[in-house]
Assembly symmetry: C2
Homo-oligomer: 156 residues x 2
């Protein structure tokens, strides 16, 4: 019995960052996540974790771009044309961002994190601690992905 009705989500907070444009892709960037005041208790104990997943809503993607079904990874024409569910493009039917970040500090309702690729003002949907179940050992990856990965390593 599929439940295909629309789902309504209220943000739990928002992103604060000075990064603009492509700067948000820099994994060393430091941002804040400001959690709604009424949810502050829900952060108790989060400092025990060094890494958390942040789920956020990429509102910058206009509605007509959410029906793009195929892309070249990172917009590179030398990469194969792939379905959006086979990539991490932000052009997807539901533009929910998922990023693993380093949790540096928690003060009151504000988390300071490193590596969040979200723009200033982005609505945050959830924060979840990183768990051993979240990592795949020896994950199988396609050739195009390995090529991009190699290029990334050469740049570092």
């Amino acid at each position: 019995m599929p439940s295909l009705e629309k789902i309504v989500i209220s943000p739990i907070g928002y992103v604060k960052t000075k990064a603009i444009g492509d700067e948000v892709k820099d994994k060393s960037i430091i941002s804040q996540i400001v959690i709604n005041d009424n949810l502050i208790e829900a952060l108790d104990g989060i400092t025990g974790f060094s890494h958390v997943f942040v789920l956020f809503w990429m509102a910058q993607i206009p509605k007509d771009k959410r029906m793009i079904l195929k892309v070249h990874p990172r917009g590179r024409m030398d990469m194969p044309l792939l379905g959006v569910f086979a990539t991490r493009t932000n052009l997807r039917p539901n533009p929910i961002g998922l990023t693993l970040v380093e949790l540096l500090k928690v003060e009151g309702n504000t988390l300071t994190v490193r590596g969040l690729d979200a723009f200033d003002g982005t609505a945050v949907l959830d924060v979840k601690p990183f768990d051993s179940w979240d990592a795949a050992k020896n994950a199988g990856l396609p050739a195009w992905w390995k090529k991009l990965e190699q290029e990334k390593e050469q740049k570092l």
Copy 2:
């Protein structure tokens, strides 16, 4: 400039499983994800990945339980009382499930996966390939979490 308006999401598909009750927590369980027919092209190339993240909507959590802010992990009273954002409980303001699953097979609009802890009929919000950025090496974890982890290993 926080964007705190409500967000409306349309599912991209739904879960098919014979597992009921606590059976869905069994990591060996095999389920199907049936993607909406109009999105089938968005799956092209996904078989290159052995593991994908599934984002889903835990509609079984009633609205009044979404304002529970503190829980004992896995309901165990010998564990500390923690904020929901410091745990993976399904009692959270936005009950979005996030699970890494093994991708076994893709036939038409149907993905067969292992390890999806979602009930039959659950709305699926997104599918994303597992990426090296998603794994934290040497992640710092709280003592209560390590204790649960040890117990899990002893049971295997």
